[in-house]
Amino acid sequence: MWDYTDKVKEHFLNPRNVGDIADADAVGEVGSLACGDALKLFIKLDDNKERIVDAKFQTFGCGSAIASSSALTEMIKGKTLDEALGVTNQEIADFLGGLPEEKMHCSVMGQEALEVAIAKYRGGPLPVHHDHGHDQEQEGEIVCKCFGLTDGFLKKVIAQNRLHTAEQVTHFTKAGGACGGCIPKIKELIAEVLGEQKQDAPKRPEKLTNLRKMQLIQEVLENEIRPQLWSDGGDLELIDIAGATVQIAFRKACAGCASSGYTAKFVEQKLRDLVSDDIVVEEVQQ
């Protein structure tokens, strides 16, 4: 059972601003039946076309999707369009006293609908989200094929919410929540964003004896790398360590895989991040 706050429950049981605005100035639609949630947001501006005087919504989704939509409409009334654009998904969640992490994507959907509505009103390019957009041009590389999520969108959510794990990204965006095939790519995106933020630099010992270095290489292979390969039906075996050269042989699905070169690079990067900068990984056939 999901642990909802009283305020989430209140906004779900008695949602504010359900319906439509016949002469709305802006309408933003995100989501789809396939996704399991969708939001249609209507905005009415004052005579000067500056401030939002009314907002209504229609939502197909779970309890927190309905509550997030209700919260969003309450939060943006009285704001200018620019002020409204500044509302983040975290603020929507905060307004509700918090959402379970698994439900954070509901608050993201509210933020997206608002961006789409305002972009449509202003006539600029529509923001790129994911398959939540019915009529948007997709930009960027699709990372999660199940939910049609692009790398640009995922990086934005990772950065805004300071996400550190693939599981968190799934909770916030749904990416990786179905077949799970894109989880390695999501991890790469997290590493990229964290690198850009210069946060959480990999914790790597400064000085290593040869013995400790070899131990650490084995630990990283066992704890960080092999579990990822197993999830794709693959595996690797450590063949030898000579100085900074690590020889590995791929096994199971990785053996003979067309992208084993890419996987070897991934292994090398991981070992460089977590053990030492000078590591070179060699794939051997044994």
Binding site: F12, G36, F60, G61, C62, F147, T170, G233
Partner: protein
């Protein structure tokens, strides 16, 4: 607010008669059944009686019953035993709609070099037996196919499946957790080699299950240690729970007719009335033979968790095939395997009745659910379009 509990495929209440039967075995008759003294011996006798009661419900011999901790352990034991028994057979057959107790294990085994075939189902949740005939071969160690589906209640033609499996010499296991106590079973005339059951699905406590193991079927234990259960499952028996399971099986046997007449009648009425009142709804698995207690019904353009929360506000407990209630993000793998459209899969609700369900409780659902669906459709952009068309 009195609760109306219609989630019996998730778990059941412990029958008070069952509880009374197990009660003395906590603080009074707490001996170890393996002990040589009289104090343990009296417990052993009661465990033997429980074994006979479980066997009677299955039409099996008591020696063919191994007590386990749960249905999942029984399933794991059966499948892992089969692949150890046949080290040269590397193929496992199951279905796309199995419970995770079987499906997760089989998928994990692919990482250890096993080939796993997951059979498809049609729109009504029925298996394609021709597909089974094509894929079962001399490399198949075990075929594991559930007796009845936990979400839709669809019952598979187990004996026909067993005949096909036997022709190739593979072992046949069935996860019968949802079927035991709801439909008549008779292992004496069956093709089943191993069958899993779980106590808490038939009014015994959680944490007790059993594995039926046909006499003569080769077996390797999952749990090793002491000599309990004739060395087929080590570990001191959870005696009070074992005794409870025995009593629960005895009572289930006595209530089988009631399950298939009165309980089924209530389920059918619930189904009929909801379908008549609520437009754009459909029965998942409606075209197949189903368990008498299970109704999986889909309401288009609304989402299952929202329905469950509003039902819960009315004291009604049900379950959902919705992604949002499961921690996963895709709707139920069972409904997706059946090809249930997304428009319906997200809004599927499962009602599962028991012998303790009353007509008044069914009446309450028939009264409370239609306005909930109407209300959520008024909030939903897709639902509003539907309502406009009506």
């Amino acid at each position: 607010m009195k609760e109306i509990y219609l989630d019996n495929n998730a778990t059941t209440k412990v029958d008070e008669a069952v509880f009374e039967e197990m009660r003395p075995y906590f603080c009074e008759l707490y001996g170890n059944p393996s002990s040589m003294h009289f104090f343990g011996g009296q417990v052993q006798k009661k465990v033997d009686e429980a074994r006979s009661r479980v066997a009677a419900l299955l039409g099996a011999d008591p020696s063919e019953i191994i007590f386990t901790a749960c249905g999942t352990e029984s399933d794991n034991t059966a499948i892992r035993s089969a692949i150890e028994v046949f080290p040269n057979r590397r193929h496992i057959i199951t279905t796309r709609v199995e419970h995770p107790a079987v499906l997760t294990l089989c998928r994990n085994l692919t990482k250890h070099g096993y080939r796993v075939t997951e059979l498809n189902v049609d729109g009504a949740g029925r298996l394609d037996l021709d597909e089974l005939r094509k894929v079962v071969d001399e490399d198949t160690a075990i075929v594991s196919i559930m007796y009845a589906n936990n979400e839709t209640g669809v019952v598979f033609p187990i004996e026909e499946i067993g005949q096909i499996v036997k022709e190739k010499g593979a072992l046949f296991h069935t996860d019968a957790v949802q079927a035991v106590g709801k439909i008549p079973l008779n292992m004496a005339s069956s093709t089943i080699d191993m069958l899993a059951l779980s106590g808490h699905k038939l009014h015994a406590p959680k944490g007790i299950g059993a594995l039926y193991l046909r006499k003569g079927v080769p077996f390797r234990p999952f749990m090793v240690g002491g000599h309990q259960e004739k060395s087929r499952r080590a570990g001191t028996e959870a005696t009070s729970s074992v005794i409870a399971l025995g009593k629960a099986c005895e009572l289930a046997g006595q209530h089988l007719d009631d399950e298939n007449t009165r309980v089924k009648g209530m389920r059918d009425r619930l189904e009929r009335e909801l379908m008549a009142i609520i437009p754009a709804s459909r029965i998942n698995g409606g075209g197949a033979e189903r368990l008498p207690n299970t109704l999986s019904i889909a309401f288009e353009f609304v989402e299952g968790e929202a329905i469950l929360l509003l039902l819960s506000e009315k004291g009604i407990c049900a379950s959902s095939g919705s992604a949002c209630t499961s921690g996963s993000l895709e709707p139920s793998h069972v409904l997706r395997a059946m090809g249930v459209p997304f428009t319906c899969a997200h809004g599927s609700i499962r009602f599962s009745l028991s012998r303790f369900t009353t007509d008044e409780e069914i009446n309450a659902v028939i009264k409370e659910l239609p306005p909930i669906i109407q209300r959520l459709r008024e909030i939903s952009p897709f639902g509003r379009e539907l309502l406009k068309k009506q």
